[in-house]
């Protein structure tokens, strides 16, 4: 069995949610908040919330969209915010730009509505992560499959979702290693195509394992 020169190192992550000092009670204030909040806050309300709410596979995309939907009662704005797909972004700066653009456009179109007080304020938070290496690493597809099978939700989220920002590539840790370490480009692409919005962490995890099993069966 082919062995990678660089092993895949499995990690897990645990996060504390730090409460920031910004909040928004109108759409205009949300725009200001998005312009001024930390990168960690944008990450928390987009990438991290997808992991925390992975079981909602219909109509939940990020905290900003949920606020526009439930607390601002502006479905048109919610829809635009919902449509921003974190897989398209390899930097927080680019994601922040697009979030601000959506809100700025909306404020231009609906200036009066954007100054109205909303039902519930939005509170900006950010996460403080502590990462832990697992004892196991993988050099072969078999070892990799074994490692992936034992991952917790947090660990799977760390490698499959939040990794995109670490890598600054439109891929995830698994696909990156499968392509670069083992040269399995087609498998890497198939893993990267798993939709994190319409899957739960459990169902995405199962799909990764199925793809790995299929590859091992074909080898």
């Amino acid at each position: 069995m082919h062995a990678a020169a660089t092993p895949f190192e499995f990690f897990t992550v645990s996060s504390l949610t730090r409460i920031g000092n910004q909040s928004a009670g109108t759409i205009c204030e949300m725009l200001t908040g998005l312009q001024q909040c930390s990168d960690g806050s944008i990450f928390y309300h987009t990438f991290q919330t997808l992991g925390t709410h992975h079981f909602l596979t219909e109509g939940f995309s990020n905290d900003f969209a949920q606020w526009a939907h439930a607390d601002v009662n502006r479905e048109d704005l919610a829809e635009q915010l919902e449509a921003l797909d974190i897989r398209d972004y390899v930097s927080i700066a680019a994601l922040r730009n697009d979030l601000c653009r959506v809100l700025a456009d909306y404020c231009k179109q609906q200036p009066a509505a954007c100054k109205q007080s909303v039902l519930e304020r939005f509170y900006f938070c950010e996460s403080e992560d502590v990462t832990f290496p697992f004892r196991f690493t993988a050099r072969t597809l078999g070892e990799f499959r074994q490692g992936v099978a034992h991952l917790s939700h947090a660990s799977f989220y760390f490698h499959f979702i939040s990794s995109r920002l670490r890598l600054q590539l439109q891929t995830n840790d698994f696909s990156h290693w499968l392509a670069d370490g083992l040269g399995l480009k087609r498998l890497a692409e198939a893993v990267n195509r798993i939709d994190i919005y319409t899957n739960t962490l459990d169902s995405a995890h199962s799909q990764v394992l199925r793809l790995l099993d299929r590859e091992r069966g074909a080898a």
Partner: protein, 422 residues
């Protein structure tokens, strides 16, 4: 045996608060072994290190209930954890109850003698408690002034506030703030409760234990027996609010919402709750609630003992809809309890409740008596939506509000606090 000692030996010394010790591995059946292995991995750097948790009551109320579970699980991770309870007389608990209501925003004019009672009791406890653990976690305002006893050995202190501080009485908060700002970190159940403090403030959710008597699966026969015992008709829709008899839980508002619903649906209402040893106001509110319900045989006001987990469990499981119509709320753990049982929940958007009820995903939020009644009627008319909300609510609790998640959050906090700064 002193109260401190009693709290340290809850499982043997205090039958009322005792809970069977549940091994960590038992949670693997619900959560998967990977989640439990991960907890053990995280705890390794903390092996043998000491933690002291301090609160004001060993029995009744959500804090005691959480500590009763959190402490043994943390011990199992080879962390040297102890739980101490401060002692105080009637005057102290009258003052702290008034402080509690004032911090929730109720009108109150604190006098110097109230602060003196508070400080004197904290000082008495300073001489009784060790306070020498590497990590000291103080729960709620009652023992907040124990920070005066901080040793000069560089141990870490965190203040866990379980109550809604979004609109605190200024005088009481200014008094407490002087102590809180001397901690290394503060934890709140909702971002809305955070204050302008010079220390890091974290979001910390309370948690339920899925294997405790209050949340474990029950035999349907037992549920039927509980309904029969309280003369509740199992064939008609049942609306339930489980809460202490406390004005901030708005039991009379629940009765008014029920009366609106009753015009359209032949339903019943259960208001069930126990007292807590630090809540002298409960009897007065219970009487007011009984008076408001007088004459309606479909309203069942049940005064449960402080520790009646199986009855609470059965009532929640028998409910068609669970209500939590609080006016202010620290967190409202009864919402997570109901969601864990896959029950649709209608609750007010206060305190920590919106963290549990993601509107239209894991339950329905309301902002008034009429709104509460409307959402209840909507769910009674659309049982398929009610079922979906309950199922998604169950997943939400599994992911975010179980005791194992709470242990993980504490481990992360301890590791973060122990990390050298600068």
């Amino acid at each position: 045996m002193s109260e401190v000692a009693a709290a340290n030996h809850l499982t043997s010394a205090n039958g009322a608060a005792s809970a069977a010790r549940i091994p960590l591995d038992d949670y693997a059946a619900l959560l998967g072994s990977a989640e439990i292995d991960e907890l053990r991995l995280m705890a390794k750097p903390l092996h043998g290190r000491s933690v002291e948790m301090i609160n004001s009551t060993a029995v009744g109320g959500g804090v005691a209930e959480i500590l009763n579970r959190l402490v043994p699980l943390t011990e199992e991770l080879n962390i040297n954890i102890r739980w101490d309870v401060i002692t105080g007389g009637d005057a102290f608990f009258r003052v702290t109850k008034a402080f509690h209501n004032a911090l929730h925003g109720a009108p109150y004019h604190a006098e110097q003698k109230d602060f003196d009672v508070f400080l004197a009791t904290n000082e008495q406890n300073l001489s009784r408690l060790p306070l020498d653990a590497e990590f000291v976690v103080i729960h709620d305002p009652q023992p907040a002034a124990l920070i005066e006893g901080r040793k000069k050995n560089g141990n870490h202190w965190a203040w866990r506030c379980h109550i809604d501080l979004s609109h605190p009485n200024r005088g009481v908060w200014e008094f407490l703030e002087k102590f809180v700002m001397r901690y290394d970190a503060a934890m709140f159940s909702s971002p809305e409760f955070a204050r302008a403090l010079p220390i890091p403030q974290y979001l910390f959710y309370p948690a339920i234990d899925p294997l405790s008597e209050k949340n474990q699966d029950l035999d349907e026969k037992f549920v039927a027996e509980v309904l029969a015992r309280y003369q509740i008709d199992p064939r008609r829709p049942l609306l339930t609010q489980i809460s202490r008899f406390d004005r901030l839980k708005d039991p009379i508002g629940v009765i008014r919402a029920y009366r609106i619903v009753k015009r359209y649906f032949d339903c019943q209402l259960v208001l069930a709750g126990g007292g807590a040893s630090d809540d002298p106001e409960g009897a007065v509110v219970l009487k007011e609630t009984q008076e408001a319900a007088a004459g309606d045989p479909d309203i069942h006001i049940l005064e449960l003992p402080a520790w009646a987990p199986l009855e609470v469990n059965a009532l929640q499981r028998a409910s068609t809809i669970v209500i939590q119509k609080s006016l202010r709320e620290g967190f409202g753990l009864t919402v997570s309890e109901a969601l864990w049982k896959k029950k649709p929940v209608v609750a007010t958007a206060v305190g920590g409740i919106p963290a549990q009820i993601i509107h239209k995903h894991t339950g329905l939020l309301a902002h008034s008596i009429e709104g509460t009644a409307y959402q209840i009627r909507f769910l009674l008319s659309h049982p398929e939506i009610a079922q979906k909300l309950g199922e998604q609510g169950h997943q939400h609790v599994k992911e975010n509000f179980l005791i194992t998640q709470k242990v993980k959050r504490y481990l992360t906090l301890l590791l973060a606090m122990a990390k050298p700064t600068g």
